[in-house]
């Protein structure tokens, strides 16, 4: 079974960050010659997928930035000077998602500390 909503929200971001962590870890292990052959194919595959997702996200942002002014202008039949940056999903939504993810992460740890303290009492 699959838990939650695949592909959406902060789950997507978490897995992207953890995948990057995996590549950094693996690079470090390679440097100190402690590479795990068992996991090598997974890391190699995921390097391509991670890169593809990041490129894909920017391409989507670029595409949306391109079509939104056209669609809205057509709907309104009025030429409007839109101030949409080249890539609408470049930074702001990313920062918002990252902040949410950090918030959830902190929330989990706060909960963990509270439970631990209650157990100790």
């Amino acid at each position: 079974m699959i838990a939650g909503m695949p592909g959406t929200g902060i789950s997507g971001l978490l897995y992207l960050i953890i995948a990057i962590q995996m590549h950094i870890e693996d690079f470090y292990f390679t440097l100190i010659r402690k590479n795990s052959l068992k996991r090598l194919p997974v890391v190699k595959h995921h390097l391509f997928i991670t890169a593809g997702i990041i490129i894909g996200m920017f391409a989507t942002g670029w595409f949306i930035a391109l079509i939104i002014p056209v669609v809205i202008s057509q709907n309104l039949s009025v030429p409007i000077n839109f101030n949409i940056k080249n890539n609408v999903i470049q930074i702001n939504p990313f920062i918002f998602s990252l902040a949410t993810l950090i918030g959830v992460y902190i929330g989990v740890h706060v909960l963990r500390i509270i439970v631990k303290q209650r157990k100790a009492e």
């Binding site: 695949p6 897995y15 909960l111």
Partner: protein, 341 residues
């Protein structure tokens, strides 16, 4: 190692698929010592079909009411070092058992699971599930496995170290997602679980909304029930706690966005362009899916099935919200086990 394996297949009215399942088990590169079909008081002759194929058939005195119940009924008889459970509507790649067995080189490994791909990809629901599985088993699960915390050892095809399984009391019967319950119990007791992508299984997925809704209801309630049951223990398990926390967060907020925020905003602002929000994360879905589809030479099938995934995901949001409301807010536990096909 093969002589140390018992395969169990819980079955309730599975006359259409049980033959394929048994045949696929008999064609494995590594043969199990015993194949046990647990005929959970079927009324369609499932047990007779299984008997005619030369496998052991066990029949409880009355219907056990769940897959976990049927499996536990047979577990008492298992004497081998390893136990494998496979659904009665699932077939295996010829080397699937061999691949899973090879993973048990660590005595702390309690369970191992494989890659799941729907056997039939025809209807909207099967297509949605096909994309969901390609995404999850190509992108999420290997990352979870790298950090030694696969979220679930899938109930449709998993292998277990029998003594650890018995020490756990078999498959838990208190929630609707016994596979998730068991996996998280293993972690809480300090055991490991692995995901082996080379071991492939092919279950029959719900082909219509009627059956898909039953499965989604069971899975959603099972997820919420397990979070409620295990949350304190999970907080001490790195990575797993993060995987579950974000899944739960998205179950709430992504569902609200899909079901209410996006359509309401689109109507309020009379702007259908806002509905692009339903597919804004398409690269996160498409890249891993295409990666696997190219390997399986199924690119066209994957591209044609992609829209179905977004439909399934939105419908899934409804069942997740319903489960959260029922289990968490009004504290009504849903424990009726309904088959998804």
């Amino acid at each position: 190692m093969a002589s140390q394996l018992t395969v169990m297949v819980p079955a309730y009215n599975e006359k259409v698929s049980i033959e394929d399942t048994i045949r696929s088990l008999k064609m494995q590169t590594v043969q199990a010592k015993e194949i046990i079909i647990i005929d959970d008081c079927s009324t369609d002759g499932t047990g007779d079909i299984a008997s005619s194929m030369g496998v052991t058939v066990l029949r409880p005195p009355s219907n056990t009411g769940s897959k976990a119940g049927a499996q536990n009924f047979a577990l008492k008889t298992v004497q081998t070092e390893f136990t494998m459970a496979i659904d009665a509507d699932t077939t295996l790649a010829p080397d699937a058992i061999e691949k899973l067995l090879l993973s048990f080189d660590d005595p702390k490994l309690a369970a191992s699971c494989g890659f799941v791909i729907p056997r039939y990809v025809i209807t909207l629901w099967e297509r949605g599930r096909y994309i969901e599985y390609l995404l999850a088993f190509t992108w999420y699960k290997p990352i979870q496995d790298y950090f030694e915390k696969p979220l679930i050892s899938s109930g449709c095809f998993s292998m277990y170290r029998t003594n650890i399984l018995k020490e756990n009391g078999g498959w838990p019967e208190g929630t609707l997602a016994e596979d998730m319950d068991l996996t998280w119990s293993f972690y809480e007791k300090g055991y490991k679980v692995r995901f082996i992508p080379e071991a492939v299984c092919y279950p029959i997925e719900p082909h219509s909304y009627h059956f898909m809704s039953k499965q989604l209801r069971r899975w959603s309630h099972g997820f919420v029930q397990n979070v409620m049951l295990h949350w304190k223990g999970i907080l001490e398990i790195p990575y797993l706690r993060s995987f579950i926390a974000v899944s739960l967060w998205d179950a709430v907020f992504a569902s609200i966005v899909y079901l209410f925020v996006l359509p309401i905003l689109a109507i309020l602002f009379a702007s259908p362009i806002l509905l692009i929000g339903y597919v804004i994360d398409i690269p996160v879905v498409l890249v891993p899916v295409l990666f696997k589809a190219i390997e399986r030479k199924e690119v066209w099938l994957a591209l044609m099935s992609l829209p179905s995934f977004f439909v399934l995901r939105t419908v899934n949001g409804f069942f997740l919200l319903e489960a959260l409301y029922t289990e968490l807010l009004i504290k009504k536990t849903f424990l009726v086990y309904e088959k998804g096909h």
